[in-house]
Amino acid sequence: MIRYFFTRLAGAIPTLLIIVTATFFLMRAAPGGPFDQEQTLPPEITANLQRAYGLDQPIWTQYGRYLKSLLHGDFGPSFKYKDFTVTELIGQGFPVTLQLGVTAMALALIAGTLLGTFAALHRNSAADHATMSLAMVGIAIPTFVVLPFLGLLFGVYLHWLPVAGWESGSIRHLALPVIALALPPLAYIARLTRAGMLEVLRSSFILTAFAKGLPLHTVILRHALRPALMPVASYLVPAVASIMTGSLVVESIAGLPGIGRYLVQGALNRDYTLVLGMVVIYSTLLIGMGLLVDLLYAWLDPRVRH
């Protein structure tokens, strides 16, 4: 099991390196620089700025320096937010985004598997059709439509929850964003769980479990659930990607000071180091998630380990 993990880890590191390198060179090789959008500056000032940000060095030197500073956790200064380094910005924003994303993922997983199992056990009933219809809605309607709609309903009309804004540790401010963010993966997970569960319930070993006189909840929880969740495990990395993508929108609409919002701003402002730093963070998260999923596979199906 341990060896399996390290093999996977060894494979993941080169991928991360490729992504970081590709992004770095892409951005440096682009036409125009980060200062082009400001009013034209006199050449000496431009030259000074270039020197200050290390942009006058040969590109390989820049790359080397960047990698080195990465290892120290230093992402360089933001080109736009002059008073902050990217590291500081990430430090401020990351906990917010993490809270948002993790809560949404947890909600999607728990509610999704519960709904999917319920639908599978009550196959073809009205409840089953209702659940699957709701899932269809969740998948089809984009987050940036759902969140404002929810805000309209619960915030403006019902006054139950705040529409936007952020207070550290406040559940009320997180509620709507988390729900909107969790909805598409929740819907997918519900569908996948239902399909997986229906498939597993036809297996011989489930027949054996029933024949042993075990109560229904034991059969489902101990015997059926893990194999039924295999399709969900395959979906986990795309689910995280979906939540990452959704967080960009959710943070922008709800005014949450997370790194998603910085990323969008970075794109609009052409802030190189900020965007590069974000890409590194997000890629690391995704690849890390991929590793975790590999481990999860091994736990769900012991045959994989050998």
Partner: protein
């Protein structure tokens, strides 16, 4: 004495989009305590479905009528709680394919122990020890190690032994063994049959042995029921059945079993034709199309099971009447 299992006029039909298909057509049988009954028939004869009904394991689209009483209590239509009190403990089953009958992601120890935890209220550690001891009794080498292994780490024969152990853990009154040797190598088959014989001797429970292979049933059964197209066509004591089969189908089946002492170049006799597809409900003898003794009466009148107890047959022109 109350029979351990008493089935009365059992009918099982499966509903499909195109209509209803009858798989079991008015079957009645009884199994006495400690008796070993062999149920023999081709696939589709309904032999497995009869016992699925007893265990409450029929598929969702199955409709069963009649009566199935286990130790006096009606099981057909019983609710899940009532069924769970009995199945897995007093009424157990060794399912058809040992390769797929064990849950892949759970260790053997858990799958064995959970039966005792659920039915006998044992603690997990007690249950594990008992499971280990049972594995010894079914001759699984290194039982302690096996408890910590996953099903895919065991061979087919070993898994079947585990299934047999599983069925014995709560001292059942009746064990249903569904094709216990079909999925196994020939050499292992003999071992499993031996094991079943030993287990019966030790535990003394009743055994319902379902097989399409007469040879499997031969050594173990006290009584044999032959099923064809969802009906019982002959029910006789084992010895009598083999010496003097009365139903033409049984006679043909016996001819098909190759004899180790016969001439080697002789072609294996086969039975021409196919059994009727499930659902072709007939007011006639279902075997008539393939029967060499068939007459007009066989095509219009359904033969009922009749005759002295121990030698019953459903045929208008039984063999040994000649």
């Amino acid at each position: 004495m109350t029979p351990t299992l008493s089935i009365d006029d059992l009918r099982i039909a499966f509903s499909h989009r195109a209509g209803s298909v009858e798989a079991v057509d008015r079957v009645s049988l009884q199994i006495a305590p400690s008796e070993c009954v062999g149920i023999v028939g081709e696939s589709g004869s309904g032999k497995t479905q009869v016992f699925m009904a007893a265990m409450g394991l029929l598929a969702g689209n199955a409709r069963a009528t009649g009566s199935v009483r286990f130790e006096g209590r009606e099981l057909l239509g019983a609710d899940r709680a009532a069924l769970n009190r009995v199945r897995g403990s007093k009424l157990t089953m060794i399912p058809q394919d040992p390769m797929t009958s064990l849950t892949p992601h759970l260790k053997i120890g858990i799958q064995l122990a959970e039966v005792m935890v659920a039915h006998l209220g044992k603690t997990w550690s007690d249950a594990r020890s008992s499971a280990g001891r049972m594995l010894e009794r079914v001759h699984v080498p290194e039982p302690k190690r096996r408890l910590n292994q996953y099903p895919h780490e065991l061979s087919g024969g070993m898994r079947q032994r585990v299934m047999i152990a599983m069925s014995l853990l709560c001292e059942p009154s009746l064990v249903i063994a569904d094709e216990p040797t079909t999925a196994l190598d020939v050499t292992i088959q003999a071992q499993i049959i031996e094991l079943l014989r030993a287990v019966r001797g030790e535990f003394g429970m009743a055994l319902a042995l379902i097989s399409h292979d007469l040879a499997v049933v031969a050594g173990l059964a006290d009584r044999i029921l032959v099923m064809y197209a969802g009906r019982i066509v002959e029910a006789a004591a084992a010895g009598a059945l083999f010496r003097r089969p009365r139903h033409p189908y049984t006679a043909e089946l016996l001819k098909c079993v190759p004899s180790i002492s016969g001439p080697r170049s002789a072609r294996l006799p086969t039975l021409a034709g196919q059994p009727p597809r499930p659902g072709e409900v007939l007011e006639a003898c279902p075997f008539a199309p393939r029967c060499s003794r068939a007459a007009e009466r066989c095509r219009v009148e359904r033969p009922q099971l009749g005759g002295p107890a121990g030698a019953q047959v459903a045929c208008h022109f039984p063999v040994s009447d000649d």
